[in-house]
Structures are given as C-alpha cells and as structure tokens.
Symmetry: C2
Subunit: 196 residues, 2 copies
C-alpha cells in the first residue's frame, strides 16, 4: 500500500496534534511512543515523519501553540478594563475558563517543561513569565491604588496562579459543580485574600 484515498496533509497533522495531546496528557511525553501515536492516528510509525520533524518538535509545537493562544486571549480578556479590582476579577474568570477549556494543553505546558530541550524550554519559560506578569501588574496597580494589600507581590502572584491552575488536575465539566460556581468560589477566595 501507499498513499491512501482521502488523505490530506493538514487533516493528518491536526489528528497527530489531537492524538499527541491526548497521549501526552494521559501517559506523559516520555511514556508516549511514536508507535502509540501512529496507532492512535491510524498510521504506520514512519508516516508520522511526513508531518513532523521530530518527537521533540511535536512537543514544542503543542506547548508553543498553547502559550501563544493564552497570551492573545488574556490580552483580549483584559482589554479596556481599568479598575484593578475589575481587572483581577476578569483575570480570574478568564484564567479559569481557559484552563477548563484547554486543560490538557495547560497541564502538558507545565508538566512537560522538563522534557523540552533547553533552547525550547527557554522560549516557553519566557512566554510563561510574560503571562505571570499580567497578573503581577494587576496586583501591583491594585496595591499602588490601595485597593489590594500584600506583603510580597511576586509570591502572591505565584500563589494565586498556582491556586487557579490547580483545577487542571481535578476539575471535570461533568462533575458536581459547574464552571460558574467554580469561578465564584475562586474569585471570592482571591479577592478577599488580597483585600486591604
């Protein structure tokens, strides 16, 4: 056999990305073999190389795509909001919504950072720092305006991000609680936490 009827490059690549997300999310990057991946897509292992260059590059692309989308959408979500409290609320709602929608990408983006080659890792870490700074800037503005209070903005930033990102490890949309309630609980915890 050779090229199969109906095969199309972009569609196969999308299938590889989707299957890769699923497998890396559940098994981890190292534990996912390209044979696993090919089987899930319905290809022979060698055929993957018509669409990807290396396994490492696939991982990088998955994480990088996610980070770029994250940065774009956080800026959309905060655009036009001035008041620090409103900005913080908007950030919380955005962050949780995004992390519910794309929990596989988010999880991989942190759990598999270590699996990236140094050069690739640096690029992702830089993007992540940019994202962290979105929150840090909000906190700083709020503290300056005496609407928030914290002994250490950097630590608070990490703490809040850790809290909000934690849902990736346990939340399921099918569970007992819906996303609005989830956002409400977290919003209250954070807003009261940084209150003067």
């Amino acid at each position: 056999m050779a090229r199969t009827t109906g095969s199309s490059g972009p569609r196969t690549l999308a299938a590889i990305h989707e299957a890769g997300l699923q497998l890396i999310y559940t098994k981890g990057y190292d534990a996912m073999s390209l044979r696993d991946l090919a089987a899930k897509v319905g290809l022979q292992p060698g055929s993957l190389y018509n669409h990807i260059n290396t396994k490492q590059e696939l991982l990088f692309d998955l994480i990088h795509n996610h980070m770029v989308a994250l940065m774009e959408r956080v800026d959309e979500g905060l655009a036009g909001i001035k008041d620090p409290r409103k900005r913080l609320e908007a950030f919380i709602a955005f962050h949780l919504t995004y992390h519910i929608e794309r929990k596989r990408e988010v999880f991989i983006g942190s759990a598999e950072l270590r699996s990236l080659e140094p050069k690739n890792r640096k690029r992702i870490v830089n993007l992540r720092r940019d994202y962290e700074n979105r929150l840090a800037d909000i906190l700083e503005a709020g503290v300056a305006a005496k609407k928030f209070k914290t002994a250490d903005i950097r630590v608070s930033t990490y703490a809040i991000l850790a809290m909000l990102t934690g849902i990736c490890t346990w939340y399921s949309p099918k569970g007992r609680i819906d996303s609005d309630a989830l956002i409400a609980v977290h919003t209250r915890l954070v807003m009261q936490g940084v209150m003067p």
Copy 2:
C-alpha cells in the same frame, strides 16, 4: 571485581533512594534510566537489583515513604489544637514547611503519579485523599462554627492545597524571601480568603 570493601546494604539502598529522588526530580521517572541511577550511586546497573526489585517498585517506595511521613507529621502538627482558625493556621505553616523541606518528594508524588501502575497509584491516591481530608475537615468545622465562609468546601480545599503546594515548583531557600515571610504571605491570603 566483586563485592567491594566497606559496602553495606542499607547504606547502598539509602544512596539509591537519594540518587533516585534527585534524578526523578530533575529528569522524570521515564527519562531516568537505571544506568543513570547506577552511575550516580557508583554501581554497575545490575547491582541495583541487590537492593531493589524493579524500577517501578523504587518509584512506589519513594512516594509511599513520603506520603506516610506526611500523614504522620500533619497529625503531630495539628494535635491538641481546637479552634478552627488556629488549626487552619497550623495546617498552612506545617504544609509549607514540609513542602519546602521535601520538595523533591512532594513534586515526584504528584508529577509521577501517572507513572505508577494502577494498583500502586490507587494506594497513593487513597493516602492523598486522607491528607486532603485533614484540610477539608478543618474548613468544615470552621464553617459550622461560623468562623469561615465558603460556597463549596471541596473546591476550597483543592484551591488552597494547590496554592500551598505550588511553592514546590519555584521556591528556593536560597532566594530573596525566607520561609517565615513565605508562610506569612500565604497565611494572610488563605485566612482572609475564607473569612466570613
């Protein structure tokens, strides 16, 4: 060559555990080969099997030892404290202190859960649930006594644990901030967060 002078079983096993912690913490379980591990300990790969049964069992032992110690010490740390607020403060301080001291074990305990075989994973997940319940119970008692308020105890439990556990991914004792200040910032965030 054969048995080396001065070699002792327990000492070698301890060295294997220490090297294993270090390697799994930095590279991940799958990425650590038993050849890496043996080299770090100063053994031939085959010699590891005088001390461990399988790679999987080594991982399980590392995580299990940690979970057992965690449960023991949290109960020590909470013993005799009655007031929900005091209990919550004690829990926060204990959790952060332990997670600073043993951040490699803690990190492995969550990041490598997926690398455990189902049977082993279940045992660890059960222990983790017990630990989560320590916090959930404190929150519940506080809500019952009208000293805390939250729309959902389970979600708050996860959120607070995620926040407190987050330090494992970034905190270094050599950094700008010392552990007392770290505890102070987190305590304020949480205590205000659950305030009525």
